[in-house]
Structure formats: structure tokens, C-alpha cells
Amino acid sequence: MSAVEHNHEEEDHGHHKETFITKYIFSQDHKMISKQYLITGLFMGIIGIAMSLMFRLQLAWPEKSFGIFESLLGKWAPDGVMDPNVYLALVTIHGTIMVFFVLTAGLSGTFSNLLIPLQIGARDMASGLLNMISFWLFFLSSVIMIASLFVEAGPAAAGWTIYPPLSALPQAQPGSGMGMTLWLISMAIFVASSLLGSLNYIVTVINLRVKGMTMSRLPLTIWAFFVTAIIGVVSFPVLLSAALLLIMDRSFGTSFFLSDIFIQGEVLHYQGGSPVLYEHLFWFLGHPEVYIVLLPALGITSEIIATNSRKPIFGYRAMVVSIIAIAFLSTIVWGHHMFISGMNPFLGSVFTFTTLLIAIPSAVKAFNYITTLWKGNLQLNPAMLFSIGLVSTFISGGLTGIILGDSTLDINVHDTYFVVAHFHLVMGISALYGLFAGVYHWFPKMFGRMMNKNMGYVHFWVTAVCAYGVFFPMHFIGMAGLPRRYYTNTAFPYFDDIADINVVITIFALIAGAAQLVFLYNFIHSIFYGKKAEQNPWRSNTMEWTAPVEHMHGNWPGAIPEVHRWAYDYSKPGQEEDFVSQIVPLKEGEEELQH
């Protein structure tokens, strides 16, 4: 009798019957929203990566005719030869999509949504409605960004940083017309989406932790998402204001960023504005954005490395402190993008100082990861491989940051391929690896099935080899003085001797692109035909694995289990198994060995 009553109560708890629309489309359930983020993010990722392959073809074999250009770009590639404006549009949209749509929304949106409630023991986000609105704003901004690809004069083409006056004046380049308007609208909506999401994450982490889940017992994933959300709330509004001011300059004749301009035979009326102001506003978001992208990936990695090493993460408290230190420093280093912008050189000194400080918490993180591996019992699942790969690219890319963050050295490598190599390794590839690691690891939680591990291995190894194959040689052409965003290098015979490096890079890029198809196939196939997952396939300690495999509204049937220990009791002496879930009470006389 009581069981029946219990069931009845359960149904009541579910409020209402779910229709197809409320379950799959306008869902307020964090797990569904997380899948929506992931799938939208992956779709955008396919577009972003495809674009990069197209401009890599142009860079390796400049001004050659490719059938694929003719069919994909149509009038913008007459006779299959890519137009210079299209090249610029491709790099611009590639950057925008990868940074914001894939690595911000696709990564943080997916895993913050999935893991925050599940790992802190909450039934859902603090506000399901805001969460739903956040996703749909993101979706709308994606639609607008995609739509901008189809306007008459082409999409925005001023680089993903869209510095005015190039981005402000339709006369300056074709992409600065309707394409730029749509870019700005899309990004304004994106910022709104991101703010709603972030506020929700912060409130949820602060208020909805289950009994026993103190801040010092939070898994590092949650710490990373939490701190990321805070940086997002602090810095994204500044991008919004920059975008609004730019819209004013473009459409209402104000002069925030423009002054003394003569273009297309005409003196424009703008007086007294400064593009440098825009640069400050943009990078006030733009730099923290790097960490908005990277910290969730590092959080995911921390969790996966600990679980698969069967060891506690080394130096939990230092890891938390580094996350917070990186977050704080990230908001005061933006000027290192502007050493040679014409700002006072003294400011350059200050920003060099703060920038190189970031290397300290970053080094702590890298060494702590390495030490976590030491004397472990490594379970080399695909997720683990991607996590180790992340640490590798994070180190390789991070180290060159020491050169770029030094104002003096930046003079000669600023805006060259050296920079492209640096940030692709340290944030692009690293965050992408974080995304992949997260997908492989939490796929069973998201879809109730397992991904094929062998395809995962092929995906990792081909990607890992190619990622270095693409970006390692790029340091060389950057040090040779080759500027980025050049449609072709043939205008300078001086660069003829690096043409073959570009061919190597493109070949690696094409193979890497092909490897992503393996992932895509594995992902889609496994959703429907993957092996059914056990409740806790990776024998992990965190709370999400105590919830039933079948998704249910409210996450746990009945009461939410209480938390009794931190998330990293792996291979603890005195325990039978090499893992102890956070919900298992301490044994008599057992010490909570935490810090």
C-alpha cells in the first residue's frame, strides 16, 4: 500500500503530463537543456571547422581553383577561386563560432547544465524557466549568426574582434554592411543568454547544494563552472556595451570609436572618438573569455583525471585557489592584447606584470595534474586520453604565452601566426579536448548509453597527432614574421620559402577534420545503438552517478542522498573498493582526509 502511495506522490511531483513540446523543445529540465546546448554547439562546431578547412586550402594552395569552393561559396568563389573578402569572412565567422558558440555555449552550457544540479544534489537549476530562456536565446543568436552567412554582401569580415572603424563603416569592406549588423545583434542576444545562464549557475551552486555538500566538498568541475559563471557575469556586459556603442556609431551617427576618417573619397563627420576605447572594452571581455572557455575544460579534466587515475586529485585546495586566482587575474590582463595599439607604454608594463602572474596558478594546475597521474592506476578511457591531451596542449600553448605576454617580445610577434599557434593550442585545442573528454565521460549520463571506445581511441590519436601537426609548425612561420589574416602570402616573395610549411599544416588540418567525422558518427550512432550504460560505468565518486540511468524529472527518486565526504576518495586505504561515493558515510574512526 505504501509503495503505491509513494508512486502516486512521485507522479504528483512531476506536476503535469509532458508533451513532446515541453519535453524535447521548450524543456525546463536541465538535462534536456544540456543536450540541446550540446547538439546546437556541435552543429555550430561542424560549420566552424568546415570553414577553417576551406581557408586552410586557400592558404596552402593560394588562388587555386577548388570545386568545393564553387559549390559551397557560389558567387563568392568565381571559377572556384576564393575571393579575398570571403577569406576574411571565413576567418571571422570561424573565430566567432568556435569561441562563443562552440567553446562557450557548447562547452560551458552543456556541462554546467548537466553537472551543476547532478553533482551538487539538486533537483534542477534554481530557475528552470530562466534556463530555458537562456538556451532559446542562444539558439536564436545561432540562427541569426548562420543567417548572416546568406546576406547579399556576405557576413561580418573584420576579424572576430571586429575592431572599428573597419567594422563600423560599410564603405570599409563588404562584410561591414548587413552582415555586421546581424553579427552584432546575434552577439547581443548571445550575451543576454550567457548572463541568464551564468546567474542561474551561480544561484544554484550557492543555494541548492544538498545537505553535506559544503563548498570544500564540491567537485572541481563545479568550482570551475561556478567561477566561470562569475567571470561571465562580470565581463560579458562590457561586450554588450561595446556592441551597443558600435551599433550607435554605425546606425545613429555617434562618434564613440570614430574620428577623422576619409574613406572612398569622402570625409566623414566623426570627431573625437577612439578605436582604442573599443579595444579596451572588447578585451575586457575578450581576455576573461579565454578563461570562460578554458576553466570549464580544466574542471572537466580535473574530474576525469582523478577518476581514471583512481587517485585523489593532487592538491584539491591549491586547485581551487588557482581557479580563483586565474579568474581574478583574467580580469586585469586584457591590455596584453594592446601593447602596440598606441596606448601608453607604461600601461604595457603593468599588463605585462599581471599577465605573467597568471603563469603561476597555471603552472600549479599543470604540475598538480601530472602529480595526480604519478603512481596512479590509469584507466585509459577515451575521456582520459583527451584529458591528458588537454594537459599537454595547455602546457605547450601556455608556455608560448610567456613570450606573447611580455610586451617587449610581443612587438615582433604580435598578430603573426605565432599568436595563432599559441591561442589555438592553449585555448582552442585544450578547450575542445575538454569538450570531447566531457562528452565521452558523461555520455552515459546524458543518453543512458556508452560511446564506442575504439572509435574514441582513433578519434583521439588522429586528432592529437594532427593538432600538433597543425599548430607546432605555425610557431615557425609566425617567428618568420608572417602576419595572420592574410588571404595569400604570394604578394611577398620574401615569404616564398615558408609556402611548404603551409602545405604541411593544411594536410594535417584536413586529416584532423576527417577524424572528427569518426567522432560524429560515434556520437550519433551511440545515441541510438550504443551499449546500454550501467549506473556508474567509470566507478566514480561524484553524485551524478548515484542518480538512475533513466532520466527523470527531479533527478533522484525519493529523497536526495546526503553527502558525507569529498569527491576524491579514490584508492583510499582501508576501503575495499578503489572508490567511495560521496554519499557513503564515513566509517567509524575514518578520517575525512581532505586537505
Binding site: K311, N412, Y457, A480
Partner: protein, 354 residues
């Protein structure tokens, strides 16, 4: 080169085909495969991790062997030496840390790969160890920051002085112009509002009412006398540009509405630089490539490429529109006599607008 590349591609394709074949083989045989790494996976993947370390080292060595010659061209400015030594110190440091940390990371991934019956060591913390890797980077970085800032101040402090040559670099979509201050050593006022004066002959908008501007000289090439400090004043008439002179370790953005500055002293004339062994080797290499490409062009009925002669270059390094990739100016560093002789032949602003 092409042969090696083709070979590499073939090997990679072969490896991936082999792997794909293996996938199908394995997914056929293992019906009770849980898709969680088992002991044999751990073993294989751990060994691959070690192989990957070898790959990283080989890639690094190969890159330096094959492309080391393109790194940092010989410096031709006074601060270039200082810049280069700071660069190489940082590089050596990075290289050292990279070699060690990648080795540890991948070696541990190999060495501690999961084995049946093994249990990991419960090792959660060690304050002393963490203090080491907080303090050591901190000290190293402090050293780098200090020497970096010292050099930075040295390079960026532009002091007006009698001896220095003042040159304006003027950027527009998609070319560069240079303006010399003439006899009086003072650049006349200028603004985009004056660009349409004198039927467009006033190409960079000099204020004709300012007497300082009348003897100014506007040129399409940048000639610099060797051994004399040059103070550049940068302007742009339309969008952001960046004046990038890699041989001189010099770069500064050109911002509409403001004048930016950069100064350096060229120390090697173009003629001398052409005799530099590295430059000779580079030119030879480039001309070999161009001759190769020309064969193809001639076969297709096009004109052959002209042989390359070394020149210093000024490039635009801030995205500025359609022809950003071709916004360049030739820089010629010459003896003071040659420079004077060239300067005399140029028309002053007064002569141009007459």
C-alpha cells in the same frame, strides 16, 4: 620536401585505415565489451602515450631542422640585438620546461597505465611540493618580467631630439606613404579634412596654411639613413592598420584620429644585409622555389616569376579589408650620403601643390 610530405600522408592514411579495420574487428568479437577501458586497452593506450612523446620530440627536432632557418630574420636595428637575446632566453626556458613537463606527463601516462590487481597510491596533498612549483615559476617569471620591462622601457621611450630623423608613416586602404619633415625638421599639421584640397594632390592631407608643412616631402618608398635614430609618427586615414617592420623588431598600430609613435635606429644598410650569409642563403632558397614555380607557369603559358632580391619590408599587420594581404612598402636603409642624394630629388609639398 614534397616526397617526404606525401610519404607522411600515406603513412598516416595507412595507420588510420588499419585502425578503422581494427575497430570493426574488435566490435565484432567483443559482444560483452562494456566500452570501458580494460587491461589490454590500458596497456595499448599507455604505450601509445609513450610513442606520442617520441612523436612530439621528433616533430620538434624535425621542425627545427627543416624550418629553423626561417625563425627570426637577422635584426637590423639597434634594439634588435637586445630583443633577440631576450627572445632566445625566453625560448630556451620554454624549451626546457616543455621538454621536461611533456616527458613527465606522457611517461607517467605510460608507466602508471592500469594493470590488473594494481591499486593507486592515495596521495592527496603535499604542501612543500606545491610550494616549490609556486615559488620556482614565480622567481623565474619575476626575472623575465624585470628584464622584459627594462627592454620595453628602452624601446618604447621616444624622446624628441635634434639628431633624430622624424618620419610620418601614413596608412590608408591599401598602401603606405612616408612623409619627411624637410629642411626645418618639423612636420606640418595635417588632417583628413585637407585631403580633397588641390585636386587630390594633397595625398596625405597636409595643412597648406602651416608653413612647417611646405617643405615636407611625401614618398612611396621609405628611405632611412643608416646609424641615425628614426622617430616614426604613425597616422591612418580610414581604418586601423599596423606598421610592422619585422627586420627592425618594430611594430605599432596606426589609429585614425590619433598619432602613434615608435622609434628605432637602423644599423645595417640594405646592401650590407644582402651580403649577410643567412640572407644570401634565404634568397638562394627562395629563388630556387621561384624558378621551380616559374617552370609550371611558363608551361601554362604564363610569365615566369621575377627573381627575388632581398629588401626590408613594411607590412600591414592589422586586418584592414580586401587587400590587407598586399599592403606593403619597401624600406631602403642606405648610407647618409645616398639618403641625402635621394632626398634632394624628391618634390616638397610646396612644389607638389604649385
Amino acid at each position: 620536401m614534397t616526397a617526404i610530405l606525401t610519404l607522411m600522408v600515406l603513412v598516416l592514411i595507412a595507420i588510420s585505415l588499419w585502425q578503422v579495420a581494427k575497430i570493426f574487428e574488435m566490435s565484432q568479437t567483443s559482444k560483452n565489451n562494456s566500452q570501458v577501458a580494460n587491461d589490454s586497452d590500458n596497456d595499448t593506450q599507455g604505450k601509445l602515450m609513450f610513442a606520442f612523446l617520441a612523436f612530439l620530440y621528433i616533430l620538434t627536432l624535425y621542425s627545427f631542422w627543416a624550418w629553423g632557418d626561417v625563425l627570426l630574420p637577422a635584426a637590423a636595428s639597434e634594439h634588435g640585438g637586445e630583443y633577440d637575446s631576450l627572445m632566445w632566453i625566453s625560448f630556451a626556458l620554454i624549451f626546457f620546461v616543455q621538454t621536461i613537463t611533456q616527458a613527465l606527463l606522457h611517461y607517467f601516462s605510460f608507466k602508471y597505465r592500469g594493470e590488473p590487481g594494481k591499486r593507486a597510491m592515495f596521495y592527496a596533498d603535499n604542501n612543500r611540493l606545491e610550494a616549490y612549483w609556486t615559488i620556482i615559476p614565480a622567481i623565474t617569471l619575476a626575472g623575465l618580467i624585470l628584464s622584459g620591462l627594462y627592454t620595453w622601457n628602452d624601446i618604447m621611450t621616444v624622446e624628441e631630439n635634434e639628431e633624430a630623423l622624424v618620419v610620418e608613416l601614413y596608412a590608408q586602404q591599401f598602401n603606405w606613404k612616408a612623409r619627411y619633415s624637410g629642411q626645418d625638421g618639423v612636420l606640418g599639421d595635417a588632417n583628413v579634412r585637407f585631403l580633397q584640397d588641390f585636386d587630390g594632390k594633397n595625398v596625405i592631407g597636409i595643412d597648406a596654411t602651416d608653413p612647417n608643412g611646405l617643405d615636407d616631402v611625401v614618398t612611396q618608398e621609405l628611405h632611412l639613413p643608416v646609424g641615425r635614430e628614426v622617430i616614426f609618427k604613425m597616422r591612418s586615414q580610414d581604418v586601423l592598420h599596423s606598421a610592422y617592420m619585422p627586420h627592425f623588431r618594430a611594430q605599432m598600430n596606426c589609429v585614425p584620429g590619433m598619432i602613434t609613435e615608435f622609434a628605432f635606429t637602423p644599423i645595417t644598410t640594405t646592401d650590407d644585409m644582402r651580403l649577410d650569409p643567412d640572407v644570401v642563403a634565404k634568397v638562394k632558397k627562395i629563388n630556387k622555389i621561384r624558378a621551380e614555380n616559374s617552370k609550371q607557369l611558363v608551361a601554362d603559358g604564363d610569365e615566369a616569376l621575377e627573381p627575388y632580391i632581398f629588401d626590408y619590408i613594411l607590412l600591414c599587420n592589422k586586418i584592414c579589408g580586401t587587400s590587407h594581404y598586399n599592403m606593403q612598402m619597401k624600406i631602403i636603409v642606405e648610407t647618409p650620403e645616398a639618403y641625402e642624394a635621394w632626398m634632394i630629388q624628391q618634390q616638397t609639398f610646396a612644389q607638389v601643390i604649385q
